[in-house]
Amino acid sequence: MIPAIFFTAITVSCSSTVDVPYSVERANKLNETVMCPVCPGESIDQSQNPLALQMRDIIKDKLNQGWSDQQIKDYFVEKYGPSILLSPPRSGVSLVVWVIPPIIVVLSLLILIMAIKSMRRNKVRSDGLEQINPSPEKISEYSKTLEKIINEP
């Protein structure tokens, strides 16, 4: 109950902040997917490089002109090549990058199943203990002493 209220409070407090115009939000989303060509590893959203600023302006203009997201992305790809997009396209060579993760997941789950199966099988390396068969009296005697020790404050 408490966590529920807590998290709801969080979400409400978070989401009730500001209504950013839809176009701005869209532009921001787009900015996050386009890489800044001159700054290593940063999107134009992150970078404050003049070029990134220019590119952000381009995106804003194109959106105002009614371009679609895909059109804008294509525009940048044409200009700078496919590596300008932070998210690799789901076609051509880049398709591989998307295909492998599900394969990793499936393979890992297969390994998990195999590991569980082999662990469930009776193949264990015994240390000879189970060949000792203590009498029931001894068992209860030991376990009583043990219990006393464990429950000691």
Partner: protein, 661 residues
Amino acid sequence: MFVEIGYIAIGVSFALSTYISIASLVGGIKKIPELIVSARWGLYSLPFLLLVAVIALVNAFITNDFSVRYVAENSNLAMPQQYTWVALYAGNAGSLLFIAIVFSLLAVAAILSIRKSLPHSTPYALALMALVLTFFLGIICFMANPLERLPITPADGQGINPLLVHFGMFIHPPVQMTGLVSVTIPFSIAIGAMLAKRGGRDEWVDIGRIWGMISWLILTMGLLLGSWWAYTILGWGGYWAWDPVENSALMPWLAMTAFIHSIMVQKRRGMFRMWNMVIIIVAFTLSLMGMFINRGGPVPSVHSFAQSTMGWLFLMFMGVSLFGSLIAFLLRMDNLISRDKLESLLSRESMFLFQNVLFLIAAFITLWGSVFPVLAKVINGTTVTVGEPFYNVVVGPILLIILVVMGIGPFFPWRRATKSNIYRAIRVPLAAGILTAIIIIAVGIRQPLATLAFAVCGVAAAGIFNEWFRGTRTRMRKGEPVWIAFTNLITRNRPRYGGYIVHLGILMLAIGAIASSFYSTQQDITMQPGDTYEIGGYTLSYLDSYQRKYSDRDEFIGEFKVTKGNKDLGLMYPKQSFYREFRINATHAAIKSNPIEDFYIIPSEFSNNGEAIFRILLNPLVWWMWAAGPVMAIGTIFALTPQKRISVRLISKEEENKRNL
């Protein structure tokens, strides 16, 4: 002259560490105690030698001895003295020396901690640590000696990279490097125990777990400090961008997280013996991979300040060590068969296994995303960028499942449980999660992913608090007052409750990350001095802007007065510094942080007439992410503090007499 002394010290320590690895290995195999002691004593003297080299380098920095190449490349006359410490590891050669001395200290501590309890495994572990050290010292000696002289002494140095001139840089890189290299310790202990023919089963587990957790903690702190640095200095309002270097630090962390959990199963049950070996090998390999990417790997990143071709040596070393440890593993596999079988799928053991697999999946996908651009380039000649959107889609869901497992996993009893038992144990957290989701939806928020993510956090939080509450209540029934009951509960079961505290930290991290990635507000605005702007309840007035010229940089500073409601939050000074020599623009965001949200001003562009573009960000709950650091540290240390052991001797006194011969 100091420089030459340091130079000799490095050479001697390389020779010494080579000797240690050989002597220790031979001593271990042939069982020659004198040789083992000799190797160990050699190890103890290594940090002193390396200290001489470090002092020589520091001295060169302080005296501005630009005849030393490394000093000339990483400092200049204008550099404030306190940045000597940063300059020490700003470049490749220096950072390697830093790694070497830190690692030699860790190795000494590790050997001291295992030599009494694992006498037969210690020589092998020592040999492995010394091998790693020899590798680092070899590179320092032959490829990147920080004490190498230049043929001609320049009048002034090139200076330090301005992005490194930040408070966070005093601690983040050393912690991160220490974290990466510290994975070697549990690795060496595990493999060392495996190589010592007799052992390799559970002998190493206690101490291996301790070192694993230490290493995990250092890695965690390194990651958090790095994010914090990125958040406050890189000035884009974020803290994590799935950049290759960030990934390279994340991957070993993921593997180590898997390790410190699965090692518990071996400790408790004598199971997962092979599994743990494989995981620690993976973690070690990934940490070398991390250093490879960090030290001049082929991937572009905001974090690579020191690029060089030596990265490839790391890659080779990684290949060799991976190959070697796998061979050793295959040869010793028979020795590592579990003591017990998995009794049930509904058990803590299988939850740990599941958790492990999830972490490894996350690690391998991250690895794949980080190396794919390189592969594509080499194989196909195409340049591809794999960035944040990819990881959000692919790794995001896995992290979410991990959170669920974190929430309910601890409620699966060891060995086996009936279905009704599991249901009983997890119904409260699950109900709390569902309730969270329902309330969030009822309030009218339509962000399905965020709702799901918060519901998952609700499950985990409810699980932890529910158990604390019930445990305390049980003790209170015995007549203990509430605080004593709670303290007794957690101090009597330190690994368990320490773990819960760490989980709580993870939860704080998750909440901050979820909130700030789903509910961050961002706006770019153009302002003239005198303008006022309102956003999210904040009123900000752009008072003035001014320029300052320094010997190495020009600063553009904006002055803001910020109020929220009637409350005056004071002045804020976002600024941009242009470092002329480096042609680098460093952005210094101004942040007002509180537990609910961060108010963040980034200067984008200043014009000469004072007009400027600013980016305003409202990042909710980011504060919690930084607060999670101390919480996780406390939890880990708490879990590590030794607890009173119930000696086997207590149970039968007559045996004690026998033993006290």
